[in-house]
């Protein structure tokens, strides 16, 4: 009951004229920033901090919530339209979002992304409203051994991303993992494969790899097909979803909003793992799993729901423990501090008004994101109507700005170009890029958590068997690996039985 009262007060402020105005500004600014590859929620929030300095905290929070969700959604837009995932959370959205857009269904894909983001975010906030203090315990239950198992579970996904040849997928992943080992090793301070270049000591940024392998490689293909036009341009901006499509979205949205939220609750895991796992679990359990990767409705809905569920889940450790679980929430923490709000175990007891104010602003940010963005989809989709030659030049420029905007040096731009060429060559010889990027993202964290665990246990592997949560995840990932196999046999047996 107390929860509802607090929320009501929050809503009252939010539904004032000023409240609505600031959410609107936030959503627009966030979406615009998020659509530029390379600029995601982190930059969007960081650049807004000087703006909100000295503002009324409640209004500022409303605006930040708008920025936060807007930026997350904007990232999906560039993934879907241009195959250019600006943040790691949006990589899984390219798998089906981009093929869908290429089939002339960009509006549909964006609508699916908007609706599933909304559902993921809203279910997340509802869970946050009622279970935040309880879930705070879950958030601190993960130590290095559990994280190691979680990353391992993420990597088992490679088998599902293989596009036919398992060995090629494994090679892709191994090379991706190798690139993740470049830089100073956190456990020892040893520079690895840096060739004494200060440009490499912090490792290669995710964005350089993702924009190269996905966006620039696609640009190469577009150049060769520059005279082709999209097959069906008429309905490109139409966001009309059929009943069947809406029905298809239900399952993934229901499951992934909860799964994504739970992963988001774990500090350090975050939206990337949530969106990948979301995509893969749906692919595994789907009857029509062949459609995944070719513009499947579920393939867009799953990662988007999971991502927004998880970005909401990340507020559990932030608000109830003061622990920022991701880069984005770390910057969010900075923004809250500027507003005079110190999140932590005491926030809920000492400043319930603030606590509920934050949560109310998240509900509203989500709603506004949906009602503001749906009408904009037809216009955003028109990007694809830009003549190919011009579009190609613009995509290249955006990739370069995106990378320059985070690294501020040209070394990373040459690397970007290198990964673009690599990505294209990989396409030529049928090596999938998805396992590469997945291993690149998860590999680094996996290695570190493995070695952290072994340092803690003084070298004994038993640490993974004696911790119940770690063991459970291990068993789950083995089961999920075997699941398609059993499903196959089961279906076969059914067919035989029906045949009889």
């Amino acid at each position: 009951m107390e929860a509802l009262e607090g929320l009501l007060t929050g809503f009252q402020i939010a539904f004032s004229f000023h409240g609505i105005l600031f959410v609107l500004i936030g959503v627009v600014v966030g979406t615009l920033i998020g659509m530029i590859p390379g600029l995601g929620p982190i930059t969007a929030i960081a650049v807004m901090i000087p703006v909100i300095y000295g503002m009324d905290p409640t209004l500022a929070l409303l605006m930040m919530a708008g920025v936060y969700y807007g930026a997350a959604y904007g990232g999906a837009a560039s993934s879907i339209l241009l195959n250019a995932p600006g943040v790691s959370e949006a990589v899984a959205t390219t798998f089906d979002g981009y093929p869908m857009a290429q089939q002339g269904k960009a509006g549909k894909a964006l609508a699916i992304a908007a609706i599933s983001s909304f559902v993921g975010g809203t279910v997340g906030v509802i869970l946050l409203t009622f279970f935040a203090p309880t879930l705070a315990k879950v958030a601190v239950s993960f130590g290095p051994p559990e994280y190691f198992m979680l990353m391992l579970m993420g990597l088992t996904a490679i088998s599902s991303l293989s596009e036919g040849s398992t060995i090629r997928a494994l090679i892709s992943a191994t090379v991706g993992f190798m690139f993740a080992t470049i830089g100073i090793d956190a456990q020892t301070g040893t520079p690895r494969f840096t060739f004494d270049s200060p440009h490499l000591t912090e490792g290669i940024d995710f964005l350089v790899v993702a924009l190269g392998l996905f966006a620039l490689a696609e640009v190469c293909s577009l150049i060769l097909n520059r005279k082709e036009r999209l097959t069906d341009q008429k309905n490109i901006g139409s966001l009309h979803l059929t009943k069947k499509e809406l029905h298809e979205m239900k399952g993934p949205m229901g499951r992934q909003s909860i799964l994504g939220f739970l992963i988001g609750v774990l500090p350090g895991a975050g939206g990337t793992i949530a969106s990948f796992l979301g995509y893969l679990t749906e692919k595994r359990i789907a009857k029509n799993s062949d459609e995944f990767g070719k513009g499947s409705v579920k393939g867009v809905a799953a990662p988007e729901t999971a991502n927004n569920g998880s970005s909401t889940g990340a507020f559990v450790p932030l608000l109830s423990l003061g622990i920022p679980g991701s880069g984005t929430t770390a910057v969010m923490l900075g923004a809250l501090i500027v507003l005079g709000i110190q999140p932590g175990p005491m926030l809920y007891q000492q400043h319930p008004d603030v606590f509920w104010g934050v949560i109310a602003s998240m509900y509203i940010g989500n709603i506004f994101l949906l009602i503001l963005n749906l009408p904009l989809i037809p216009y955003i989709s028109k990007i694809l109507k830009i003549p190919r030659p011009l579009l190609i030049s613009l995509v290249i420029v955006f990739c370069i700005i995106g990378v320059y905007g985070i690294s501020f040096n040209t070394f990373d731009l040459y690397l970007l170009l290198g990964f673009g060429v690599l990505g294209y060559l990989m396409r030529l010889v049928s090596f999938p890029a998805a396992p590469f990027i997945l291993a690149f993202i998860l590999g680094g964290m996996m290695e570190q958590s493995l070695r952290q665990s072994l340092t803690i246990s003084n070298g004994s592997l038993m640490i993974f068997a004696t911790r119940p949560v770690a063991l459970t995840i291990l068993i789950l990932s083995i089961l999920s690996l075997l699941f398609p196999y059993f499903q196959n046999r089961w279906q076969k047996r059914n067919r035989i039985r029906q045949g009889l």
Partner: protein, 334 residues
């Protein structure tokens, strides 16, 4: 085809000519004889947006402009990479008195670890502004109630105690712990240190994966208030002011004569001109004394620690010697 190639060549020729005739730069002394920047000032944060260096730079620029301390435009530029090394080499190559940067102990530690060719001696320290201190925390139910008990156990069985921090060996979190532990007589080569850069260090402490958390004072505050952790020691000279913080004992008062300051200040390019240096020194003093800056310090929990150029030079050289010894003993230097 020919026409196109012609246009191409023409464009790039134009661009090239433009590139070669670069505009003149630098500053002049104004009529009154006093040096003043004649171009917008850039403050480089050798890291990405959102971190400590970036926040300090942006807040300083904000107060400089809003309070009218400096009339020129001030832009903050992020030059992330190499743990700061890329930002430092950028400033070093610029050599313009309109380019400043913000820095802290990594300016000493990164070169000592062999990861940057430039150290503070290659630049002109202008003024130090603020300080932060390290804190060592354990779980509420841990068996240790002060640093000495902890260090005694570490001397007996170093492999049973895991110390966790956010940065790699040889960098701040690790070194501040090593510095205090060494003074207490612990064999610093046997300390079991784990680094967690993905934000899991505090949770690892809370759930028992690690035993000691070495970090900044601000990071421990909320958990200590809530009674989930206890801070066994902080690395400041005297107890800090403030609610709860004042209950944190210093290492010094526990008989361990060691301190560690996470100082943060501003630097200029190498061999900065005397006139420009004294101009900036004055401006930073004004900034440090302003009310607006005091408010910002309050908000972020930074302590005041102003040092002018001369004091700063002396301080840095002493710090460097001490850190050098620790790094050498751990044989981390390259």
């Amino acid at each position: 085809m020919k026409k196109m190639a012609g246009a191409l060549v023409l464009t790039f020729v134009l661009v090239f000519t433009a590139a070669c005739s670069s505009s003149s730069s630098g500053s002049q002394e104004s009529d009154s004889g006093e040096w003043k920047p004649d171009k917008p000032i850039e403050i480089v944060a050798p890291a990405g947006p959102g971190g400590g260096w970036d926040t300090t730079a942006r807040m300083a620029a904000k107060v400089f402009e809003e309070e009218g301390i400096i009339q020129q435009d001030i832009g903050v530029i992020n030059k992330p990479g190499g743990g700061g090394a890329l930002g430092w080499s950028y400033i070093h190559s610029k050599k313009s008195p309109n380019s400043l940067f913000v820095s802290s102990p990594p300016l000493l530690l990164v070169p000592l670890n062999g990861q940057s060719q430039y150290t503070y001696e290659d630049f002109t320290p202008i003024a130090n502004m603020i300080a932060d201190y390290g804190a060592f925390a354990v779980r509420k139910d841990a068996k240790w109630d002060n640093l000495n008990e902890l260090f005694d156990d570490m001397k007996k069985d170093p492999s049973s105690i895991t110390v966790i921090g956010a940065s790699s060996p040889g960098s701040m979190d690790h070194i501040q712990f090593v510095k205090v532990a060494k003074k207490a007589g612990v064999d610093i080569k046997k300390i079991k240190y784990v680094s967690d850069q993905d934000g899991g260090a505090l949770t690892a402490l809370l759930n028992g994966s690690a035993d000691v958390y070495t970090t900044g004072v601000a990071e421990t505050l909320e958990q200590a208030k809530a009674g989930k952790i206890k801070v066994l020691g902080v690395t400041s000279e005297e107890r800090l002011d403030g609610d709860v913080v004042s209950t944190f004992p210093t290492a010094k008062e526990q008989g361990i004569d060691a301190t560690f300051v996470n100082w943060r200040g501003f630097f200029g390019p190498p061999n900065m001109d005397e006139a420009a240096l004294s101009y900036y020194e004055k401006k930073f003093k004004e900034l440090s004394d302003s009310e607006a800056w005091a408010e910002i310090r309050e908000k972020y929990g930074w302590k005041e620690m102003y040092m002018d150029h001369d004091e700063y030079m002396e301080f840095l050289s002493k710090e460097k010697d001490e850190l050098q010894k620790l790094i050498d003993e751990l044989s981390l230097g390259k």
